[in-house]
Amino acid sequence: MSETIGDTGAVRPAGAGASSSAGTGSARANGLPARARPAGDDLVIAGRMLHSRLLLGTGGFPSLAILAEAIAASGSELVTVALRRLDPATRGSLIDVLDEAGVGILPNTAGCFTARDAVITARLAREAFETDWIKLEVIGDEDTLMPDAPELLRAAEELVDDGFVVLPYTNDDPVLARRLADVGCAAVMPLGSPIGSGMGIRNPYNLALIRDAVEVPLVLDAGIGTASDAALAMELGCDAVLAASAISRAEDPVRMARAIRAAVEAGRLARGAGRIPRRTYATPSTPEQGLPDFG
């Protein structure tokens, strides 16, 4: 449920950011419901409760040992995996690592360019991992890895009809996000910038519009480069962040996992706290009343 207007920090349409006494604005005074968001602020997707609002992609880690350490450092409870041809030389261990970490598996359809391929891959993932959850990716272009909107929507509809819990990787397009939610997707996962680009959130205004457009959980799915990007996503109203390359390809993946975890928590708190509106001119934080006159 979208509890506040998407806040890019710009002036909001109504009832928001009313000027209150400097420094002590209460939650009620700025038009937001008074609600604390301490620990216990769980994310619920399709009835499943997640304590962590950071989803972790497993691609790109230099080793399974570092992946395991990064999972622990991230606090994530749900991690993505891909399905690929079995190579007898390397099989088995990834699942064992994830089992040992006690995390849930979110299979993806990475590498699919058509709705048909994505649907078959989702069904294979359901067989392999005994989960109805699928991170749906239908890619339209090899260079940008941007989603193919018509194929994505078609695949989403078919998979929802087939009983899947569908989490689609989508463009930062509020209309497409709404269409995906309308066909029954359990969440929408817009990109901030191209997969693996580390360019952060290129269009925060669209993300805020998506926040307003859908009531299902909103997960930022691509483009995170470092901790501040994750904090911004949460401040803009995302319910969670999925980070992969930002962590796995960092110089120190385990430390970056810890950093992005903290950023997600900070951004969530800040969102709930209700930021002050941006203003062009200064507003004194010290009262002018009682100012002495030194003649």
Partner: protein, 67 residues
């Protein structure tokens, strides 16, 4: 010739999916494994009974780091 994961194989027509998997040291309970034949999912429950045709294209897939 049966194709296995994109390569020619010496798997004979008439073998079941379970027999093919056994050649790869995979038991019917193998975790994180899925099989498609000619673009269709073969559910685990049918691995023992599903026989491969002469020109079957078999994909045996498993978990890999990604996403």
């Amino acid at each position: 010739m049966i194709r296995l994961n994109g390569a020619d194989s010496d798997v004979a027509a008439g073998e079941t999916v379970a027999e093919l998997l056994a050649r790869m040291d995979l038991s019917p309970q193998a975790r994180g494994v899925a099989v498609a034949v000619d673009g269709e999912v073969v559910p685990r429950a049918r691995w023992g009974s599903f026989t491969l045709a002469e020109d079957a294209r078999v994909e045996v897939l498993t978990a890999m780091q990604g996403g």
